[in-house]
């Protein structure tokens, strides 16, 4: 079986889409991310990063969400 390349959402270049594999870590932040619809299997597009490189804007399920890079790092994706 071909191994898929796992990276985090923070590594995804602006303008590219990625599919969520899982949200790692524990506590309120990963939970909030999942509640906002970032669950395994969903496609996310990274739109852009803010002027100082952080936070980033992503699009999923037809809406836009902003998050910091260290939050994006807990989202494991594949392209």
């Amino acid at each position: 079986m071909e191994k898929i390349k796992v990276l985090t959402l923070a590594d995804v270049a602006a303008g590219t889409k990625a599919k969520v594999l899982r949200v790692s870590g524990s506590g309120p932040v990963p939970k909030r991310l999942m509640e906002m619809g970032i669950v395994p299997g969903v496609w996310i597009r990274v739109v852009k990063s803010a002027p100082f490189g952080d936070p980033i804007e992503v699009r999923l399920r037809g809406y836009s969400l902003a998050m910091r890079r260290n939050e994006a790092e807990s989202i494991e994706v594949t392209e």
């Binding site: 909030r32 803010a50 002027p51």
Partner: protein, 680 residues
């Protein structure tokens, strides 16, 4: 806060909330719940019309919008509640937790709702349905109001409402609040549920396999384990995907995505920041220019009111109290109402268009350097006009400590009440001077005062976040809502609601402190015979408690370069900063009708000598006083609002003490340092 402690006592609520009373005994309670920006308030307004009122939830300062809704001619009107927006019932922000408390019937004084109208944004169906999947587990009947259908149609997004209804097992109604259609259908659906006394058809999406007889409340609380919680969320979204597939099918969500196009400019790396600065400049410019006339009118109005009151009442203490204490004191604060209203107006517009979230997005990195949240930017910015709306705007900040840190530094932003003080000092001691031959010293000083406030705020925020308000870096997960043209009615209503809450909140404290300060300056009555009226005022002030207090604190303030007269003016200005000017006028015997530009007051200050013949005021004194005013907490209205917003006396007292200490230290350093460097 009252609902923090309640988390540990689950399951005390009877299944339908009203098993203790019969449904006839009290009006039905219907709650409108949904994601932020889903259209809840618009629907609420459409259903209640003008029959609504705004109050606070007990113990907290989140506004509670409640109205009467005559949903059935044969029954008493129902109480309709517009809840704050929430994404999930497990959410953490103040607003969201409160909404959850209401929905689960845990809020003291409010029964469990008899029915929930879940507002679902048709253009953002999946995320909006997440909350719905939680709501239908609560054993309360739910009716879905599908909003923004006009926008969905524009994008050719077709939703099979019949499918939604059958899969969710609850009524689903399309509403077009702007055209007022669908309102009778929603009424019909609600009436159907209520009159048939249909039981809630609770079914468990998130907990397939868990004993369905268990209360949903308990399940949510007992499954704190992350893995279980994550599985639950996943199961809900799995269910939602199925519903979406069946009722919408495949749809390209990226079609007609106008907001992203607008954001190409508005959140552009470079232009985004420029535009943000331009917008803020425009807002402040407008606030200052538009507010000038109504503020003058109010000022004159209160003056006239005072005169009328004096003329129509017998001479005596009571009249003096009403005129000089109550009317002058409360009026002095109310004069700022036009500015506050305009600021609220712009905040409402910026929020309603969706721009506010972009501002937080653009600036989060800068704010996080000092440990603050991107959302802290707006409250701080507002505080340049007035700290009160600024502090009230901190509610969107989820983390309590971040919110407190923001509240505690907000008053360092130089508000408009400091302007008269700066203006007087500059006019008296730095007028017409330039540096490098062309830059006016006044402008440099003005800029320096604003910068000083910002610098100290940053330092204090940094310290607070490292010490007493230490908390992990706040998470920043924030929706960037689609841009929308603001609804005039909502905007104006928001503005009026906030202004009214400000008046109610600050009003009583302002009244009380006005009376106290008046009494300090009024008693004991001076008996000495005097030549004319303004001398009488001066002699009275000198001998009053405030005057004596000024003389008592003179040793403390003389290292700052102040004599007792300045001390009295500072004491008086704790009511509101701009009072300094009028108090100095009384002390220097130049009559009450003076303002910061009046030559006589300036002349009097410049020419004042102490008993030894030395000049009281020097440019260094003026500078020291300006520094003191930048940093000191001299605003009773702000303290009153902090007391309400934090629901404690501890924080306003802390704020008062630490700011005054910093102000003292900085003014001390300015004056003594300046003297050492040879200035005077």
């Amino acid at each position: 806060m009252s609902f923090d402690t309640k988390e540990n006592t689950p399951g005390t609520v009877p299944a339908n909330g009203h098993s203790d009373t019969t449904p006839e005994a009290r009006p039905l309670l219907i709650a409108i719940a949904g994601n932020p920006n889903a259209g809840k308030t618009t629907l609420f307004n459409a259903l209640t019309g003008l029959r609504q009122k705004v109050a606070n939830y007990p113990g907290v300062t989140v506004e509670r919008k409640e109205g009467n809704w005559k949903f059935d001619p044969g029954r008493p009107a129902a109480r309709l509640i517009d809840l704050p927006g929430l994404y999930s019932l497990d959410a953490t922000s103040l607003d969201e937790r409160l909404a959850r408390e209401v929905l689960t019937g845990r809020l003291p004084g409010l029964p469990k709702p008899d029915l929930i109208i879940a507002v679902v944004d048709a253009t953002n169906l999946e995320r909006n349905l997440y909350l719905v999947t939680q709501l239908i587990e609560y054993n309360i009947p739910v009716v879905i109001a599908l909003t923004m259908v006009d926008l969905a149609e524009k994008r050719d997004l077709k939703i099979d409402v019949e499918k939604l209804r059958s899969m969710l097992r609850i009524p689903v109604v399309r509403v077009r609040t702007r055209e007022k259609t669908g309102l009778s259908e929603i009424t019909e659906a609600v009436r159907g549920v209520i009159l048939e006394e249909r039981e809630a058809d609770a079914f468990w999406i998130g907990n397939a396999g868990i004993d369905a007889s268990q209360q949903a409340d308990e399940i949510h609380l007992s499954l704190s384990d992350d893995e279980a919680a994550n599985r639950q969320i996943f199961a809900r979204y799995k269910f939602i995907s199925d519903v979406y597939q069946a009722s919408v099918g495949t749809f390209d969500t990226e079609r007609a995505n106008f907001s992203e196009k607008i954001d190409k400019i508005l959140t552009h790396r470079f232009f985004g920041l420029l535009i943000l600065i331009a917008i803020l400049l425009l807002v402040f410019q407008t606030i200052f220019t538009w507010a000038a006339l109504p503020m003058d009118l109010l000022d004159q109005g209160f003056g006239a009111l005072g005169e009328t009151a004096r003329a129509s009442m017998p001479e005596g203490i009571l009249t003096d109290l009403v005129v000089d204490g109550i009317i002058a004191g409360v009026g002095g604060v109310l004069v700022f109402l036009p500015q506050i209203l305009l600021l609220f107006l712009f905040i409402s517009i910026l929020e309603d268009t969706g721009y506010m979230a972009r501002a937080a997005f653009l600036l989060d990195k800068l704010m996080s350097r000092v440990g603050l949240h991107g959302k802290a930017f707006l409250p701080l910015m507002s505080s340049f006009a007035c700290a009160i709306p600024g502090i009230m705007a901190t509610r969107t900040i989820e983390n309590k400590r971040d919110r407190l840190a923001t509240i505690l530094i907000a008053p360092f932003m130089s508000c408009s009440a400091r302007l008269p003080v700066y203006a007087l000092m500059i006019a008296a001691f730095f007028a017409g001077q330039t540096v490098f031959g062309f830059i006016s010293v006044g402008a440099v000083l003005m800029l320096a005062m604003y910068s000083l406030g910002i610098a100290v705020a940053i330092a204090v925020a940094f310290l607070l976040k490292k010490t007493i308000l230490k908390s992990p870096p706040p998470p920043f997960v924030m929706e960037l809502p689609p841009y929308r043209i603001p609804n005039l009615r909502t905007v104006i209503q928001n503005m009026l609601t906030r202004a009214w809450l400000f008046l109610k909140r600050a009003g009583t404290v302002i009244l009380a402190i006005s009376i106290i300060l008046w009494a300090l300056m009024y008693f004991p009555r001076s008996q000495a015979p005097v030549a004319d009226e303004s001398t009488a005022a001066r002699v009275q002030l000198e001998n009053s408690f405030a005057g004596r207090l000024g003389q008592t604190i003179e040793p403390v303030i003389s290292p700052l370069g102040y004599d007792w007269k300045i001390g009295v003016a500072i004491i008086a200005s704790f009511a509101a900063r701009e009072v300094l000017v009028s108090t100095l006028s009384i002390i220097y015997n130049v009559g009450e009708e003076e303002n910061e530009e009046s030559p006589t007051l300036i002349g009097a200050i410049r020419g004042a000598h102490d008993s030894g013949g030395a000049k009281v005021w020097t440019p260094l004194t003026a500078l020291s006083l300006m520094v003191f005013f930048v940093l000191a907490m001299q605003c009773m209205s702000t303290l009153a609002v902090v007391r309400r917003e934090t629901n404690s006396w501890g924080w306003p007292i802390f704020m008062f003490v630490y700011m005054t200490v910093i102000a003292y230290a900085a003014a001390f350093a300015t004056f003594q340092g300046g003297k050492l460097l040879g200035f005077s």
